[in-house]
């Protein structure tokens, strides 16, 4: 099942839908209903490519079925971009099949790894940019989302992990980390998306830090396709 969670652009006087992130869930009542269990299982079975293709196709189909006109952000494993030689071809065909322009896509790279075939990974990124797809790096501040990775990928979007964002108004150290990521993004020509907004004080604090692309349960939880369609129509 595909759910959509909106990403908002928030300024002092308005709030607009900037993008929606497509989130995959396994069958209700199964272990895979939780995304963390689902994808941990997928990685242990070495099936990232197959599952990423299936989830991407489902997300594009769902996006075509709603009134969504903003960008659509789809998660993809770094290992898929490294190992799937025909990923860009698949993506191009899937977008055409569902009538979703490639220029509306943001590919959100998740689960970056320590060791990878850099040549193939960066060739895929280059091809994606040729066809108009934008790139986001997820979970910044944790794991392998390090400065080298960010400098080499130069993503259009830097997604800061909820660990830093949630309740940041009460955590000066987290604000310092957020600010450092925002400065880096500015220098590399990217924009920051803060994920994990759970209060109005989070919104205000991030606004003071110069971050206006926000995502989180306080703004809108993940929603079914039908609900997203209804909200966009409103």
């Amino acid at each position: 099942m595909t759910l959509f969670q909106p990403i908002f652009e928030i300024s002092s006087d308005r709030r607009t839908r900037f993008a929606v992130e497509a989130l995959s869930r396994g069958p209700a009542g199964s272990n895979a209903e939780r995304a963390d269990v689902l994808f941990e299982y997928v990685r242990r079975k070495g099936k990232e490519i197959e599952v990423d293709r299936a989830c991407t196709s489902a997300a594009l189909k769902a996006a075509a079925a709603t009134a969504v006109e903003c960008a659509v952000s789809i998660n993809v494993h770094a290992s898929t971009l490294e190992r799937d030689d025909r990923w860009v071809e698949f993506l191009t065909e899937a977008c055409a099949a569902h009538g979703v322009p490639l220029t509306r896509l943001i590919l959100e790279i998740v689960e970056q790894q320590k060791f990878w075939d850099e040549r193939r990974f960066f060739r895929t990124l280059e091809q994606l940019r040729w066809v108009g797809v934008r790139i986001a790096v997820d979970d910044i501040g944790l794991g392998y989302s390090n400065y080298r990775l960010l400098i080499e990928i130069r993503p259009e979007f830097f997604k800061i992990d909820p660990y830093f964002v949630t309740s940041c108004a009460n955590k000066p150290e987290a604000c310092a980390a957020i600010e450092s990521i925002r400065v880096l993004a500015d220098r590399l020509g990217g924009q920051v998306i803060a994920e994990g907004i759970e209060s109005e004080s989070d919104v205000r604090t991030l606004g003071c830090l110069g971050i206006h692309l926000l995502q989180g349960f306080y703004l809108a939880p993940p929603q079914t396709v039908a609900r997203e369609h209804a909200m966009c129509a409103e």
Binding site: N31, R34, D36, V37, L38, E40, Y41, R44, K45
Partner: protein, 142 residues
């Protein structure tokens, strides 16, 4: 006083801070899995289950369990994947008790399981009350 869960036949399990004990059952035989799930859920445990090694590993990484009951052989293979479950649990969560359940337990396998840190080793077909008593003893020891 620590609140106690009321179990069938008068047996009770200590529940620190009213927390239910979380259990993972790793078993590929449907009927055995069904019976164990139903029995321990009725006994007040919060039960998850997995039918293969990778599914068990995904659950262990993303959850905290008080006890894991694992069949020695999964997926009909001759390999003792239950020992791999044991090894994985010991690596990720040393406080979790692991009970190995098997119809194929040689003395050598049993010894390997003990060395790897199995808290108990039960021969199938073990009566459900015996499994429950073993689990309860292990949980109350920790």
């Amino acid at each position: 006083m620590v609140p106690r869960l009321r179990l069938p036949s008068g047996m009770t399990a200590a529940a620190p801070d009213n927390e239910r004990y979380r259990m993972l059952i790793v078993e590929d035989e449907f009927t055995v899995l069904f019976a164990l799930r139903k029995y321990f859920a009725a006994a007040g445990y919060d039960v998850d289950s997995a039918r293969e090694l990778e599914e068990a590993q995904a659950l262990i990484v993303t959850n905290q369990y008080h006890v894991v009951i694992a069949d020695l052989r999964l997926s009909g293979s001759s390999a003792a994947e239950g020992l791999e479950v044991l090894r994985f649990v010991r690596h990720h969560s040393r406080g979790t008790k692991v009970v190995i359940l098997t119809a194929y337990g040689s003395a050598e396998i049993q010894s390997s399981a003990r060395v790897l840190g199995a808290a108990a080793f039960l021969q199938k077909p073990a009566p459900l009350p015996e499994i429950r008593a073993t689990v309860l003893r292990l949980l109350e020891e920790s």
